[in-house]
């Protein structure tokens, strides 16, 4: 018990804040990018749609380390793109918090995209047609008609995206590394302290992760149950 007390007293909360910030920013990025991509893919013809869909879903199917490998290839300072970004814009991705965000966004993006797409496909096309014949502008139709109709699906996609971004490990550790106080997320912290045999600290973080995951799942179920949907039992 005394040991636990000592640990909590000198506890480094930075992984929590880093994870939370990363998850939030990645979710915001994925939210807008996912909605936009879903909309574009639905507008495209069937062939293009099949190809685009496969590419956009790939990060979800692949091992995160494979995604991490490609991200490193792209952003490493010794590679053209990474070197260009550093030289011209003074932007560094590898071993930085930006790397955390990019890794988490890439890995969790398919969840947002797929959920948004499925939700948009469920929108009654006549609602959109009605809005158009009434003279509503396309942008306004999207935000006032399409998105609210797709609401529950988009909301659950957002929550899943946040959950996935929060817990991201594989790609993050490769691209952003594990720099305490900078890129050290909760997942990386757990892996790190376990390596040193510190099961108590690991346990605390696991507990925190469990609580977060549980809260997210409850939220998810509340949202995807949606208002207006009356569940029939069978």
């Amino acid at each position: 018990m005394r040991q636990l007390g000592q640990i909590i007293a000198g506890f480094d909360w930075s992984p929590f804040w880093i994870s939370l910030k990363t998850g939030t920013v990645a979710t915001v990025v994925c939210f807008f990018l996912g909605l936009w991509t879903a909309r574009m893919v639905l507008k495209a013809g069937p062939k293009l749609r099949a190809v685009a869909d496969s590419i956009l879903t790939l990060p979800m199917i692949l091992a995160p380390t494979v995604a991490g490998f490609f991200l490193l290839l792209l952003f490493s300072l010794r590679r053209p793109v990474g070197a260009f970004l550093y030289r011209e814009l003074n932007v560094k991705v590898v071993q930085t918090w930006l790397g955390c965000i990019i890794a988490a966004s890439v890995i969790s993006f398919p969840l947002m995209y797929r959920n948004a797409r499925a939700a948009f496909e469920q929108v009654d096309p006549n609602l959109i047609h009605a809005a158009r014949t009434l003279g509503m502008k396309e942008r306004r139709i999207f935000w006032r008609v399409a998105l609210p109709s797709a609401g529950p699906g988009v909301a659950s996609g957002t929550i899943l995206t946040f959950a996935r971004a929060l817990g991201e490990f594989g790609a993050t550790s490769m691209l952003a590394g594990n720099i305490a106080g900078k890129t050290g997320t909760i997942s990386q912290k757990i892996a790190n302290v376990i390596k040193d045999g510190d099961y108590v600290t690991a346990g605390i973080w696991v507990g925190i992760m469990l609580v977060i995951a549980f809260v997210i799942l409850v939220l998810f179920n509340l949202v995807s149950g949606g208002k207006g949907h009356r569940h029939s039992r069978w």
């Binding site: 009654d124 609602l127 047609h129 158009r132 014949t133 009434l134 006032r144 008609v145 609210p148 207006g228």
Partner: protein
């Protein structure tokens, strides 16, 4: 106030090939489901794009494939009433109707609210302004959808089977309100339906569809009296149709195995007799035949008799609808006749 349509479009298994025009009147498009009526309406509204042709609304070209004109639905100024109402589920009735008022950009928010309230009241929806569509009956939803369209001051009204999702009582009530609204509107309205009674009550002129083409186009009463084609006869409610040809100075109705005096030489290939035009008894003019009743079905306020040419046991059944008293007095077999002018001579 007019609409002019001359378009072609390949739709799945058939080709829509339609030429129509309507002035300050209500035009009905009548036809079986999947024959292109709704597609025509969607092309006028700009929801679907024809492969080629011209569409004009009040003289303004909204679509012309040769000149590459294809106005967006937003620019066409049509009011489109959908079969499933298409009210925005996330908005209250008032908000829904206010969307309609947005077309006039010069209006302030409070002016739009006033307009919307007045329109809702006009369609007996006052008190329901803050309800969501899911809390309303089908009839109320359709009236709200109508209010939303009327407040947008459309140039023409397009009504796509507006009553088909309603039950009988609501249907009648809603139809009366729509009829009054069309009368107030005093412009061009195009109504898609497959209900011939609705057509008769609501419209002035009628276009009957068949496999994506306009089969007949004319004044409604004219088409009900003289349908011209077998398809139009069927869709205007003629229950008895038979293939027919001319033989030895007679009209031979093949399916019924009956022959009648030749009224006029044809290009006709069908004959039709409406089910409620038969009368009991024999006449000497040749428009009577011996019947035998095969089925006697009691309808709400009438009887439907399925009879057969008594001399031809393999011939097709002929439907006779009559009041219950007349039907009760009829023997199982006997003679039946019909006035000469009730024999419809029809082309394919």
């Amino acid at each position: 106030m007019s609409v002019y349509v001359d378009i072609r479009k390949k739709v799945g298994s058939f080709v829509l090939d339609v030429k129509l025009d309507a002035g300050r009147e209500t035009l009905s498009l009548l036809g079986n489901s999947g024959c292109g009526k709704s597609m025509t309406l969607r092309c006028i509204a700009g929801i679907e794009r024809p492969d080629e042709g011209i569409i004009r609304i009040n003289g303004r070209t909204v679509f012309d494939s040769k000149k590459h004109i294809n106005l967006k639905p937003q620019q066409r100024g049509v009011g489109y009433l959908f079969q499933n109402y298409a009210l925005f589920p996330n908005m209250t009735l008032l908000q829904n109707v206010m969307v309609g008022a947005e077309r006039d950009r010069s209006l302030t928010r409070s002016q739009r609210r006033d307009l919307a309230r007045r329109q809702l009241a006009g369609l007996k929806l006052d008190g329901l302004e803050d309800s969501y569509p899911s809390q309303l009956s089908g009839g109320q939803q359709q009236r709200a959808a109508l209010a939303r369209i009327l407040v947008s001051q459309p140039e023409i009204l397009l009504l796509d089977e507006p009553f088909s999702a309603l039950d009988a009582a609501l249907r009648w009530e809603t139809e009366q309100l729509v009829r009054a609204a069309i009368a107030d509107f005093r412009g061009t309205a195009v109504l898609v339906t497959h209900d011939r009674d609705e057509v008769y009550r609501l419209c002035d002129r009628l276009a009957v569809y068949r496999h994506g083409c306009v089969d007949t186009l004319g004044e409604k009463w004219e088409l009900f009296v003289n349908p011209r084609t077998a398809n139009t006869a069927r869709l205007t409610g003629c229950k008895n149709l038979s293939h027919a040809h001319c033989e030895g100075g007679h009209i031979v109705a093949e399916d019924w195995d009956l022959s009648f005096p030749l009224l006029r030489e044809g290009p006709w290939t069908w004959v039709g007799i409406r089910a409620h035009r038969f009368l009991p008894g024999r006449t000497e003019d040749g428009f009577s035949f011996p019947y035998v009743i095969k089925n006697n079905i009691e309808d709400t306020f009438s009887r439907i008799l399925q009879m057969q040419n008594a001399d031809s046991p393999d011939s097709a059944l002929i439907r006779w609808e009559t009041d219950k008293d007349t039907a009760a007095a009829l023997p199982e077999t006997g003679w039946v006749h019909f006035p000469e002018k009730e024999l419809l001579l029809l082309t394919d």
